[in-house]
Symmetry: C2
Subunit: 463 residues, 2 copies
């Protein structure tokens, strides 16, 4: 059933079906104001009069008016009735940005993002429901800047068993992904006098920028087939490394180098930041344990859910040397940084319930299959390239012929609707490595992976 | 049904009920390793042999082994079988911190936190479910540092109609609460040469610290009965104000002062940061619109869900002058700060569905009742104090006799299991106001409010 109601020449069509009476009245009024059919300042009939007109309960009208007052569409004052407010019309000087995810390349083999279609939405929502329903109300206040104790305890246990990290809840600090954790550590190091951080000569440019924004100078650290070269640490106060699976070159820091880095830190009171961004994903043997265990008072272990679940969650964690905990927490506080309590509770529940381990296990199998497929297809169809760095993680390095130009191949790929990254964009100034592509095979959704690979081969074999 | 399986003298009790076979086997193995009954390096029977022993499918055993390998309890290599890993035992050098929310005062009338028991858990979870299920996978990648376009569009509409803000989605930047937004704005201002920020002489100390951590000098701005005193803005490059409801004094910036502040900003190219922390809560008349509308190119409007929903969500938003958008986004990026995509989608859905307006409306009614009760009870039972700042918000100022000492009263309250704040803790050095208490009447859960008030009266009437 619906009715039409007229006010100063404006006809309002109100849907009066079942329990929707009030909602129908509200939306009719909203639409009328939005469309300018009810003008600012225009007075509405009393709730009594309108209720009689429409043949509905007066309280229903009063509730609808109240809701619209709360929303700012209407204003009311006792004795003066209810009228349409004068609202600011939002200016729309530029068209809105396109929705996230729209307008990207058809096939995307850039590294750094896992298969987002594999995010376990149902399990995550179920964990959120259990966690939120079980949480005492006090948890919804301003969270502990170190992270909720519940989550720190769960993470300490997980990192200890799964990554061999020497962890206790007091050493764990939760952060909104790796970058803000890095910023807080760099801030703390700078505050105690550090000047220079050695950063692998190939890596995420944004990490260098984050360190520099905190006042540190970044010095490139060469990387060879054994990983970062420890000889070049001399003179640095800190070092940022990806020991388990160098990003983007894909090598693993070999045991002698791991020990040399740990010894450098111990001898010089230096601090190593171990970016374990994809440490869970190792395919052919036992995962390499965190190097933090070699020198827990000198290594900051940093992990994240960005590769194992999704970057959009913005959940990461640090395990800190005892002497850095307070300084890093103070740095977080001076940046105003705290993590959502609900997200932290959800992650704690997700890990405790076993869902996190299950997700890692499923992903590891899926990514290993893709890695094998990538290696096989390239060996057969593009034997001129060399595929390296595939023992772990979600990306591989495709080494091109010396005469190839990365830019040309990236451009040719774009013409095929395929996004790939050249290695050079990850290099510090002066870094030199032969031409190569960094291929993130984790990223495409499952159904698109085979086609993405076929296009990659086509790009590598022009003409 | 359950079975017992023996391995090298270890009896493993395995629950084999229904679909729990695999889970039972996994948990028996985990328990055995955790308790040290299965030792590091110890070899497990082949999946075929164990399956035969237990009378279950071989795949079930293989899956359980696989899961435990994924979790790091076991290791496996083709041809070498499966064995127990050498794990790091977490050190527990200090006892874990108590769970959040435990150990606080019995009754808490400190300001800054709303009634957390009123957080609409069910509606929030429902919005999360709808938002997460409807989200395209791409949204789970690294979020736009400005905030998701969907949420910025929804916020622009909401702030325009509910707070009179001149807002377009391009001007909105999402941040993890007010403090990180303030940090980003201060960083951007400092980068373009600002030196001094005028900060109300009474306010949250942490905001001064955040501004100073970004390299700005904070200069106290006197506050009188008309709000911040604009004459004292001379020499500042920026100003941080709470125009709708001064925190903690509770006054509203009067129209002439609002205009004077806006004119100062326009004349000197200064920037006003309008901290609209509780602007939705005004009780006796139409909410005061945001002062941003007077000078949208000179005022940064800052809002948050910390008072309207819960601080634990860490959701806030800025509406920026066009000339500051890129610099603030760059500041967020250099701090590595991005917000959870899922939380942003959930908030957008929560607002769009009308749940946010409903929550504000319910809260406003509840807090108005509490405010009236506070005023009535104090008028009757402690007529010697003066209650001010109650036209809006979730806190009031209780002005004491000149001879009263805040510290004494706060200490006496603590003896009654009641937490209150003295005004002095919110004052900049040199700020002078008579002794007063800042009472957050929004904070206690509903059932505790009447008792909290009775204790407050008892504290104000000793002997």
């Amino acid at each position: 059933m619906s009715k039409t109601w007229a006010n100063s020449g404006v006809d309002l069509h109100v849907d009066l079906t079942g329990t929707r009476v009030r909602a129908g009245l509200e939306s009719a009024l909203r639409d009328a104001v939005r469309a300018g059919r009810l003008h600012p300042g225009e007075r509405l009939p009393s709730s009594r009069a309108l209720a009689a007109d429409l043949g509905i309960a007066r309280n229903t009208v009063a509730d609808a008016y109240g809701q619209l007052v709360a929303e700012g569409w209407l204003a009311a004052r006792t004795g003066s009735g209810t009228w349409v407010t004068r609202r600011q019309v939002p200016e729309r000087d530029r068209p809105a940005a396109p929705a996230s995810g729209a307008g990207g390349p058809r096939y995307d083999l850039r590294p750094g993002v896992p298969d987002l279609a594999a995010f376990p939405r149902r399990a995550w929502l179920a964990a959120a429901r259990r966690a939120v329903n079980a949480a005492p109300a006090g948890v919804l206040g301003y969270p502990d800047p170190r992270g909720l104790p519940q989550l720190r305890m769960v993470l300490a246990g997980y990192l200890s068993r799964a990554r061999g990290v020497i962890a206790s809840p007091e050493r764990v600090v939760v952060c909104a992904g790796f970058a803000p954790g890095l910023a807080a550590v760099c801030h703390a190091l700078r505050a105690r006098g550090a000047r220079t951080i050695a950063v692998e000569a190939y890596g995420q440019q944004v990490h260098r920028l984050v360190a520099e924004a905190q006042g540190l100078r970044s010095a490139p650290l060469p990387v060879d087939a054994g990983g970062a070269v420890p000889d070049h640490l001399a003179g640095a106060d800190a070092a940022l490394l990806t020991p388990a699976h160098q990003f983007p070159l894909g090598v693993t820091l070999r045991p002698p180098q791991r020990r040399a880095v740990a010894e450098w830190a111990i001898d010089t009171a230096g601090v190593v930041i171990e970016d374990d961004y994809d440490g869970e994903f190792r395919y052919d043997r036992q995962p390499v344990g965190a190097m933090q265990a070699l020198a827990p008072e000198h290594v900051v272990y940093a992990g994240t859910a960005s590769k194992s679940l999704a970057p959009g969650l913005r959940l990461g964690w640090l395990v800190l040397p005892a002497h850095l905990v307070d300084a890093v927490v103070a740095a977080k506080e001076s940046a105003g940084e705290l993590n959502s309590a609900l997200d932290q509770l959800t992650l704690a529940e997700f890990i405790t319930s076993g869902a996190y381990d299950r997700q890692i296990r499923h992903s590891r199998l899926a990514y290993r299959r893709r890695r094998d497929q990538l290696a096989t297809v390239l060996r057969r169809q593009a034997p001129q390239v060399r595929v390296t760095g595939i023992a772990a993680g979600l990306h591989a390095l495709i080494e091109l012929a010396e005469s190839d130009r990365e830019d040309d191949i990236v451009a040719r790929a774009a013409e095929h609707g395929l996004a790939v990254d050249g290695l050079e964009r990850y290099g510090a100034p002066g870094a030199h490595h032969g031409p190569a592509l960094v291929v993130g095979y984790g990223r495409p959704p499952e159904h698109a992976f085979t086609t993405a690979l076929a296009r990659l081969c086509a790009v590598l074999n022009p003409g």
